[in-house]
């Protein structure tokens, strides 16, 4: 890639290896780029290394005794290795953690406001930011006074995204926004995410197991397995890729297969055409 192309990426991950507790290898070789203003999907099954990759970007790894042992991560022209989560938020990168993680005892409104913690805003500025978020999430406005712990899973996912957006991020990391939600709600949440991307210009890297909906709402996708990138391409090409279809939809004469085997076979037969 040329110099100019590099500067168009808000995030560049180069050949990272991540190890937990000094012994558990979670990610062995992941490289990916997120162009400014785009939505990139990181796809793969349980334990593939999606969450670990996101956490190494947001530097939340340290609190789980994980460490990036090889490679480099550059966010907005800055190496993230020496930074902490608070620095990352100040630089405009916020992660929405897997499982939503709302503050259960705080009200919906307090949850959303807490996202602006790092910004120095006056009471009236917070109010107008809050209204801006409610415009994207009208459901949250209805439930603003409820304790977040008593809201539904979909509402909690909305709280988590709205809370992250209150920091006015340049980039969002979303970890499995579809987890445990009804298909209709998943659709609704992805629509809002796409809207945020278009109107607020926020770049998004999202980790998903729900390949179909993730690719339909992204520009580019990476498929990772056992800590390595197996395949990448534009969302459209991945959606139409036979190998992706076969693996993720489980349509195959010989039953479900490991994605690695699918790739090996196609390499043998006619080479890897991506």
């Amino acid at each position: 890639m040329s110099e100019q192309n590099n500067s168009e990426n808000i995030l560049e991950i180069k050949n990272i290896e991540v190890v937990y507790d000094d012994v558990i290898l979670a990610v062995s070789d992941v490289s990916l780029d997120v162009p400014k203003g785009s939505i990139v999907a990181l796809l793969g099954g349980n334990g593939a290394g999606k969450s670990t990759t996101l956490k190494s970007v947001s530097t939340m790894l340290a609190s789980e005794r994980g460490k990036v042992t090889k490679g480099s991560i550059t966010y907005d022209g800055e190496r993230v290795e020496k930074l902490n989560p608070s620095d990352m938020v100040n630089l405009g990168l916020v992660q929405v953690l897997e499982g939503r993680r709302c503050f259960g005892h705080l009200t919906v409104e307090e949850n959303v406001i807490s996202g602006a913690y790092t910004r120095k805003l006056s009471k009236s500025e917070i109010k107008s930011e809050l209204e801006r978020m409610y415009a994207y999430f009208p459901r949250l406005k209805e439930r603003r006074k409820s304790q977040a712990g008593f809201t539904s899973g979909g509402e909690q996912q909305m709280i988590a995204v709205a809370r992250a957006m209150m920091a006015k991020p340049k980039m969002l990391l979303l970890d499995e926004p579809s987890m445990g939600l009804a298909p209709q709600l998943v659709e609704e949440i992805f629509n809002i995410v796409k809207e945020l991307n278009e109107k607020e210009g926020v770049s998004i890297l999202l980790a998903e197991q729900n390949t179909n909906i993730a690719l339909r709402n992204s520009d580019y996708g990476y498929i990772i397995e056992t800590g390595q990138v197996m395949l990448d391409g534009s969302a459209k090409s991945l959606l139409n890729d036979d190998k992706v279809k076969e693996f993720y939809l489980g349509i195959s004469s010989e039953g479900r297969k490991n994605f690695r085997d699918v790739l090996k076979e196609s390499k043998k037969n006619k080479g890897l055409a991506t």
Partner: protein, 301 residues
């Protein structure tokens, strides 16, 4: 008959006011519990450490207010070192680990205090007499100690300021967020170490105030450490995470233990106020484990 009822009221009011002193100690526990979900066993030692240092500074010749401010500074330093040396390294460990660490911290503080200032019992004179206020006694016939009344006023002041801090300020919001989910709080950029530092310093100041009031009554001595554990039944009744709970719990413990002591105590040969609160606490644990004001544990299934 009239004097019987009057005597009962006197017992209750005396108990309520003594209860505010329990509330004050309990407040220190609530602060730490809110931010790290840990029962801080070192709180009693902090009370002892704070008031012993305060008296020590005065013995060195510092005037009352200067000594008070220097001690506040010292408690902030204690809070700072606790955060840096104990809390931060244990941040990602289980709550049990932190609990054990606070027990250890308690012994270290007790040892430090005694090494620095010696072991003899000191007198602390706040200039407030522990005698009944005569004009109240003359007017309605109830004897109320001036020290008790002051303690009540101080406790009320501390509670109101802490309640404002928790609910009306940005730091309070951050603090409650950290208490709920430190990981999520950190993901939106709330700096955990600042919050912890603030909480431990505030707990130190509360410990100093509680220590002064208790010290003025019972003398500045090692027994203050155990006295502080009276906060345990207070918190079980009021709820570990609730500031109003600490107050109401303190009042309930204070008044019932005095009433029980006076009216039922004689049947047990007296001195039941030492253990009666714990009986009440066990009752609460069985019937309402989150306490009167504690947050119900929310768990989505």
């Amino acid at each position: 008959m009239g004097s019987e009822i009057l005597f009962f009221f006197e017992v209750v009011v005396g108990g309520l006011l003594a209860g505010t002193m329990y509330s004050l100690v309990a407040l220190g526990f609530v602060l730490i519990y809110k931010a790290s979900a840990t029962f801080n066993f070192a709180q009693g030692a902090m009370v002892f450490f704070a008031v012993l240092s305060f008296v020590g500074f005065m013995e060195l010749g510092l005037p009352f207010f200067l000594a008070f401010i220097v001690t506040i500074g010292l408690m902030v330093i204690v809070g700072l070192s606790t955060e840096r040396l104990v809390i931060r390294p244990l941040m990602n460990q289980s709550e049990d680990t932190l609990l054990m660490a606070t027990i250890g911290l308690g012994y270290v503080l007790e040892g430090l205090a005694q090494a620095a200032w010696g072991v003899e019992v000191r007198r602390l004179d706040l200039g407030i007499p522990d005698f009944p206020i005569m004009f109240i006694a003359d007017a309605i016939g109830i004897f109320i100690s001036a020290l008790d009344l002051t303690a009540g006023a101080v406790a009320a002041f501390m509670v109101i300021s802490l309640a404002v801090l928790f609910t009306q300020t940005k730091i309070g919001l951050g603090l409650r967020a950290v208490a709920d989910d430190p990981g999520a709080a950190s993901s939106i950029g709330i700096p955990l170490k600042h919050i912890m530092l603030l909480v431990w310093s505030a707990a130190g100041v509360v410990a100093l105030v509680a220590g002064c009031l208790w010290g003025a009554r019972a003398g500045v001595q090692f027994a203050l450490v155990d006295l502080a554990l009276k906060a345990l039944p207070v918190l079980i009744i009021g709820g570990f995470s609730s500031i109003p709970g600490a107050i109401v719990g303190g009042l309930i413990i204070g008044s019932t233990e005095k009433v029980l002591e006076v009216y039922i105590g004689p049947f047990f040969g007296g001195a039941i106020e030492g253990w009666a609160p714990y009986v009440l606490a066990v009752f609460f644990l069985l019937k309402r484990p989150e306490g009167l004001f504690g947050e119900k544990i929310i768990r989505r299934v």
